[in-house]
Symmetry: C2
């Protein structure tokens, strides 16, 4: 499995290149990408070289080519349908989040255990959790998002795995363990914030009064 940090960087290079393209840039140097993403230029060249993304000595990289080649590596494919389980605060926000669509990601349906939240008529239907298994099978869904409370997460996780889900983005504040059958990306919002607080505090200790 390729190093996760490297894959994330590749996505970032692509994002920057897309912005540059929108600004009508034709070429870009490793140094520019490095600055935009916050790494060294050597890292950019190394990353590119590992994925055989090549530029032009002296002339840098062609912006279009960079986008195209990274998309090839990362597999910009056809529309990816995903499901979401847990129609609470975060779930609702993600359902309405406009950023996914442009990358070919479509939340096809949401599921919740609370009958009051079910809404089959909605643009993106909200269905009873009990229907998830069938839905996943009928629509060949592979990816799911978990936005349920922590006490429900493990159970929902098992349910999704047995339904055939192969990859999960988990926002419940618990570490779901990934396995051969299912990849997991745990995002703990509290921890993301707490770790910043930690760094701000400790940094100040080292440098009193900046």
């Amino acid at each position: 499995m390729q190093n996760r940090a490297r894959i994330v960087r590749l996505f970032r290079y692509r994002n920057v290149a897309r912005k540059l393209k929108a600004l009508r840039y034709i070429r870009v140097f490793s140094e520019n990408l490095a600055d935009a993403v916050g790494v060294t230029s050597a890292q950019v060249r190394k990353d590119f070289s590992l994925f055989s993304i090549s530029g032009n000595r002296r002339g840098g990289y062609n912006v279009e080519e960079v986008i195209k080649q990274i998309e090839m590596v990362l597999g910009k494919g056809k529309l990816q349908k995903v499901i979401l389980v847990g129609f609470g605060n975060i779930g609702r926000a993600l359902l309405r989040y406009p950023g996914f669509e442009k990358d070919g990601i479509k939340i096809a349906a949401a599921f919740d255990i609370d009958p009051a939240k079910v809404n089959r008529e909605s643009h993106i239907p909200v269905l009873p959790l009990s229907e998830m298994g069938n839905y996943v099978e009928n629509n060949s869904i592979q990816i799911g998002i978990i936005t349920v409370p922590d006490y429900a997460a493990q159970q929902v996780f098992e349910l999704m795995k047995s339904a055939g889900i192969k990859g999960i983005l988990n926002f419940a504040p618990i570490c779901l363990q990934e396995s051969e059958e299912c990849i997991v990306n745990n995002i703990n919002l509290e921890t993301e914030l707490e770790s910043i607080i930690y760094y701000v505090k400790t940094r100040k200790k080292r440098k009193p009064k900046q």
Copy 2:
């Protein structure tokens, strides 16, 4: 600066220990923590040893002690007030997210550039962006969350830095560059999901029909 992955693991050990405490566990072995967090037991012991968190040879670690010692290291302090800029989908969800409070994190106010979103009477006030600088100063805020659209992110970032914000959790899909004066944690929701899709796809290639 301490390795970020290590700090995140420490938070995870603490979270697990808290759950164990709720279940009336008295002791825990490095092996148990390792399983819960998805690392090796050697890693747990190494992490603990680096922060002088000690257990009992033969008897493992005392759950209470682990929590207390990790909290000491990570600085479970008094209530941390943070602000949020961008009262859209994600911003609204975070404002209502119940998980922060229990870790002593309180979103004190939200800010938005759209006058229609301003609501001074709300439990957590939503204020005009123009008032952010004063608010931050008057309330000694150090931490901010960015949930504005990508095109606004850089500008809001500069504004927050000049207001005196020292740490930022950024959900806008752009890499804000951290500096001496301000720590940044960039979370790109699209990329988090896209990288899972990438891994699911490539894993399947290697193991067809697993």
